[in-house]
Symmetry: C2
Subunit: 285 residues, 2 copies
């Protein structure tokens, strides 16, 4: 039976799983679970994931939830994925217009072993590299994810899910989000790092964290600029991940861009109506 | 150079790492980082962990933070740890008064392979089992940990760290904590499961989650009973993990019990003074 991925592309961890499968050429069926229609809480879906959250997968008789656990599992379970953690290098090489010999020329001697083995077959996973990636994935939960998802929910997406906007909660979350972005930039993107921890190819940590930040697309442009503007390395890193996972990254984010357009046009209408109302003479005066 | 573990035994993930090392016979040096004295924010410690949090480890030239990443790393890096995830079975067998043949008699045929291989040497890690353990560890961050640590901080420990108690935040956190305990009980401890997911020996997920719940020792007994009382399987599971990791579990939690005694005696004094005050005649009347 083909791998099934239960996902809603409005959910950032869902997008990470779908992009990962596409970039790595994994044969899978995407089953849409519409959160707005509360399908994630249906008894049928709870048979797949009793926690009632997307994403989840079914691989044969094996069921799994939590996106990081899924990414790690897929990295090990499918032979097309190099080093149990990284995205497929060949597409990265092609998408960046490198040739293999050109790429090898740019590398320091100590990385030659890595590249040749990634390109020509699997090699024993580097315990230290994997541990560092795991550390970023664990850090993510209580920092970037907590800040970004709480901010976006209370600033823009809440009403679509039947929840009120909460400016105070949004402000608190923005503080966590800003601190998280500063940490990522100063620690894992320091120097001329193209990807997290100075890796020369994107790992599952790059994919998970960038998909989270992409959720900021749906908030007001001014908010987004205020939060991301001070972080040029973060902006460059997002572009690097987009480019390395092209064209799947933009294709999978298409749904998010549509929601963004709808929300922003609604916001513009509200502002226009507010202006018209404030220009009307007040009959009470 | 010996493995160094930077920890404060008041921190639940620190305790999980220290217990793990002791149970698995890993040779290590514990370096105390006193959170109350703000040593985790010192420039020296930030050289070890730039996030300024315990626990962290240094193994040779390799530095790592985030407790789950550390547990996974130690599981792989030290040959004494069976199956990269589980605690050493031999101590589990001894501490529970089993004999090997008696243990094997109690197992179903399909588990025989597992036991023999764990006892007699390492075996290729079971991808499905590891993925399930990883899923629990990932779930933990935004559920049990978020609920329990926020509750304990706002109900009891805050003032010791220079933070005020916040009853509203404690109430919100209690909801998350209660929902998390219900999920653990109904999902991972269903049936007669001795350990999470029905495993017959404790994994790093059991250790991490039980250390988190143990933090409730420092809140008022009535609060603890109200929260844990409705969960007999959780209470039994805590005992199972304690027993399987004896005597290290209780030894490492000794510091927490001391803080508990100090906090409870302070609380009793405050209550006594309040009663005496309320019994004094009010001069204004």
């Amino acid at each position: 039976m083909m791998l099934r991925v239960y996902a809603d592309r409005m959910s950032q961890p869902s997008r990470a799983i779908v992009i990962f499968c596409k970039v790595n050429g994994i044969d899978f069926e995407e089953v849409r679970i519409d959160i707005v229609k509360r399908q994630h809480l249906s008894p049928e879906f709870k048979e797949i994931n009793p926690m009632g959250q997307v994403p989840a997968i079914v691989d044969g008789r094996f069921k799994l939830f939590e996106s990081h656990a899924i990414l790690s599992y897929l990295s090990c379970a499918f032979p097309g994925v190099p080093d149990h953690c990284f995205l497929r290098l060949s597409s990265f090489v092609e998408n960046n217009g490198y040739t293999l010999s050109g790429l090898l020329d740019t590398l320091e001697a100590d990385k030659f072993y890595l590249v040749t083995h990634v390109l020509y077959g699997r090699y024993p996973a580097d315990l230290f590299t994997r541990a560092k990636i795991q550390s970023i994935l664990d850090w993510h939960h209580s920092n970037l994810r907590r800040g970004a998802s709480t901010f976006v929910l209370n600033r823009a997406l809440g009403p679509g899910l039947g929840l009120p906007l909460n400016p105070q909660a949004a402000n608190e979350a923005e503080k966590i989000l800003r601190a998280s972005l500063s940490k990522i930039e100063s620690l894992w993107l320091k120097g001329n790092a193209k990807f997290l921890s100075g890796n020369f190819q994107p790992s599952i940590a790059d994919l998970s964290l960038v998909c989270e930040i992409m959720q900021l697309e749906v908030v007001d442009e001014k908010d987004r600029d205020r939060i991301l503007g001070p972080h040029p390395r973060i902006l460059q890193w997002i572009e690097n991940v987009k480019s390395a996972t092209s064209p799947h990254f933009e294709e999978v984010h298409g749904f998010l861009y549509k929601v963004k357009a709808r929300l922003h046009s609604r916001l513009a209408n509200t502002k226009r109506n507010d202006t018209q109302l404030s220009m009307k003479p007040n009959p009470k005066l």
